[in-house]
């Protein structure tokens, strides 16, 4: 069954058509790569799915129900988590707190409970902390849980972003260039981690410029260029697709 379905999505910024009639589907537990040249509209796809941008046309269907027009926090609550192309952590909070914020929507205690620090509040708080620690440990950050986020080295900040997204137990994870700025050994390790995340049964949509990473972990690729989907298929097919070659090299294929 399809977990996420994009139907004829179009997005307009003033005169610029950033996305035009983009359609694709993510099956449950799949790892799908979303690639395209700079400015193709990949991040815009993420922003549409997570409710940041309004579409001028089309529909986004999550597990059978439309999520169009829902606010970002509602979509997150429904199980769509993401990371950002330019790292956007809560930089003055500790690593574990970053992950704990993601569990806000999974917890319920209100103001009164917090002020009285009731038994159920303490229990819930403990659970939030435990789950967040687990999410950090999953990405190999257990040692850094009390480190302020902006003091972490770059590669670990990228990992923390993924941990934060994982903490809430999402169904779908959207990764926007997670390997950007990493050295080859770091991105190799990241590839393995992405595969492990998929083993948890989480559907992954991956935007990445590093073709080694993309070809390595994705079973299926979607290619967009100038806001239009130009190809979709297995990595081997995509590599030979003349439209894709043209889009990347900027000249007609022979």
């Amino acid at each position: 069954m399809s977990q996420l379905l994009l139907q004829k999505i179009s997005v307009q910024f003033g005169g610029l058509l950033a996305l035009s009639q983009v359609e694709f589907e993510l099956g449950s537990g799949e790892i799908v790569g979303l690639i395209g040249p700079n400015g193709a509209g990949k991040t815009t796809v993420f922003n549409v799915i997570t409710g940041v941008y309004r579409t001028s046309e089309g529909d986004v269907v999550l597990s059978g129900g439309s999520i169009l027009g829902k606010r970002p926090y509602e979509i997150f609550d429904l199980g769509v988590a993401r990371t950002f192309q330019n790292i956007r952590l809560f930089s003055n909070m500790t690593a574990v707190e970053n992950a704990m914020v993601a569990l806000h929507c999974r917890s319920r205690i209100g103001v009164i409970g917090s002020i009285l620090r009731t038994r159920s509040q303490r229990k819930e708080e403990r659970q939030i902390r435990e789950k967040s620690r687990e999410a950090l440990a999953f990405m190999g950050l257990e040692k850094y849980s009390d480190t302020i986020a902006h003091n972490l080295p770059y590669g670990l900040q990228r990992r923390l972003e993924i941990s934060r997204a994982l903490a809430s137990g999402p169904k779908i994870l959207l990764l926007d260039e997670p390997a950007a700025g990493m050295n080859p050994s770091e991105s190799m390790a990241l590839m393995e981690d992405i595969a492990r995340i998929a083993d948890l049964g989480i559907t992954i949509l991956l935007v990445e410029h590093d073709m080694k990473v993309v070809m390595g972990v994705c079973r299926r690729l979607i290619v967009i260029d100038h806001g239009v989907k130009i190809a979709e298929g297995k990595p081997v097919e995509i590599r030979k697709n003349p439209m894709v070659i043209e889009a990347y090299l900027g000249q007609p294929a022979e």
Partner: protein, 408 residues
């Protein structure tokens, strides 16, 4: 001299000439048409002198020569820190609690009066800290909630003889409602716009209090508010209960101490709860907070409302203590004062804000002799502070302290 200092002197000279041009018409031209110069000169020389001192301080701070000054300071700080380690937190707590409990027995009326003032401002500072320090929204109209709390109790007391204690939660509720009403239109605003709009709302509340004659008696204020009372057992003629008004200063001190302790505990616990974390996430990055499942509109409203609650409680106490309220007590300068405490003490840091409130209330008391130049001294103090401790007297620290294990 370090490079660039010439530039600074030039700027200083221009600024001083400009000040003189500005100052003379204000001080030198009199209503009866006479012109004088001496007053202008004396004020100008004072300001120029103080600024010169500050400038030297800045230059010393920047240049390496300041090490001579800074080294002893650093050593002193080190010693204080070590003292802090020798005396664990528990000892400090006991010390602070016993001093604050015994305070009225050790001091005179004047000191008690100042202490009550400090405690009221601590409540206000901590309330504003929720909005500014935690949720990161600049609020320049915070004193409005203080006013709402004060007028709520004032009106309940003179019209319906409500007791102070019963009025407290009502004042908190009304303030929270006011917080939501003022907060709602500003939910989508950030930064400067937010500051301007909250400033406007603060003034609107004050102007309403000033002009709604039927309800608030306008600028004349409301007189005859009851002091807080208590039902005490009474044995003079049989056993019975008597309602006693706690008008004595030291009773008031204990009441506001109680209020303050409640505020400290409540704000601390909120800070370390899922709600406080969500507020901080909004402060750090609003867009990402929402993408990570935080309902930002709701939590911002909640921040306004909770901030207002503590402001309202402090306001109700203020009315009960003064037994008189008028719109004059809720001007913009009060908002600025509370904000200064929060910034000076260290945004988001509870001990910092307590210290900030003490500094900003007690210092002007010490400078009573030079009353006229208080604001000047005040500005100078703030400048020096921001130079040496830009994150506040006691910056909020996060590492480790956030873990529940240490929280206990």
């Amino acid at each position: 001299m370090i490079p660039g200092s010439k530039h600074i002197w030039k700027k200083y000279a221009i600024a001083m000439i400009w000040l003189l041009v500005l100052l003379w018409p204000l001080l030198g031209i009199h209503a009866d048409g006479t012109l004088t110069f001496s007053e202008t000169w004396s004020v100008w020389i004072w300001i120029a002198g103080v600024l010169l001192g500050l400038l030297m301080l800045v230059l010393a701070h920047r240049s390496s020569t300041s090490r001579m000054v800074r080294a002893p300071v650093a050593i002193a700080m080190e010693k204080i820190n070590r003292l802090g380690k020798v005396m664990p937190g528990k000892v400090w707590m006991v010390l602070i609690i016993s001093v604050s409990l015994l305070f009225p027995f050790l001091t005179d009326r004047y000191a008690q009066d100042v202490a009550i003032n400090v405690l009221v401002y601590v409540c206000l500072g901590l309330g504003l800290n929720i909005v500014v320090g935690l949720a990161g929204m600049l609020d320049l109209g915070y004193i409005a909630f203080y006013g709402v709390g004060a007028y709520t109790y004032a009106l309940l007391s003179i019209h319906y003889q409500f007791s102070f204690w019963l009025s407290l939660p009502i004042a908190a509720c009304f303030a929270a409602i006011a917080g939501c009403i003022i907060g709602y239109p500003t939910l989508r605003m950030r930064g400067d716009y937010l500051a301007i709009v909250t400033l406007g709302f603060g003034e609107i509340v004050r102007i309403i209090l000033n002009n709604w004659m039927e309800l608030t008696n306008g600028p004349n204020g409301i007189l005859g508010i009851n002091a807080p009372g208590l039902m005490l057992p009474q044995f003079s003629n049989g056993i019975g209960f008597e309602y006693i008004y706690l008008k004595k200063l030291h009773y008031l001190y204990y009441i506001v101490l109680l209020l303050c302790v409640f505020t400290v505990i409540a704000v601390h616990r909120l800070n370390f709860s899922r709600i406080g974390r969500a507020w901080e996430a909004i402060r750090e990055d609003e867009t990402v907070a929402e993408l990570m499942g935080v309902n930002i509109f709701r939590l911002k409203l909640l921040a306004y409302a909770m901030g207002a609650v503590f402001g309202g409680l402090a306001g109700a106490f203020f009315a009960a203590r003064m037994r008189f309220v008028s719109p004059e007590s809720f001007t913009f300068i009060e908002s600025a004062m509370v904000l200064a405490m929060v910034v000076l003490g260290g945004m988001g840091s509870i001990p910092g804000i307590i210290l900030g409130a003490m500094a900003l209330i007690v210092l002007p008391e010490l400078f009573r002799e030079v009353e006229l130049y208080r604001m000047l001294a005040f500005g100078a103090a703030m400048t020096v502070m921001m130079l040496f401790r830009p994150k506040g007297l006691i910056p909020a620290k996060r590492v480790g302290t956030r873990s529940e294990e240490r929280e206990g």
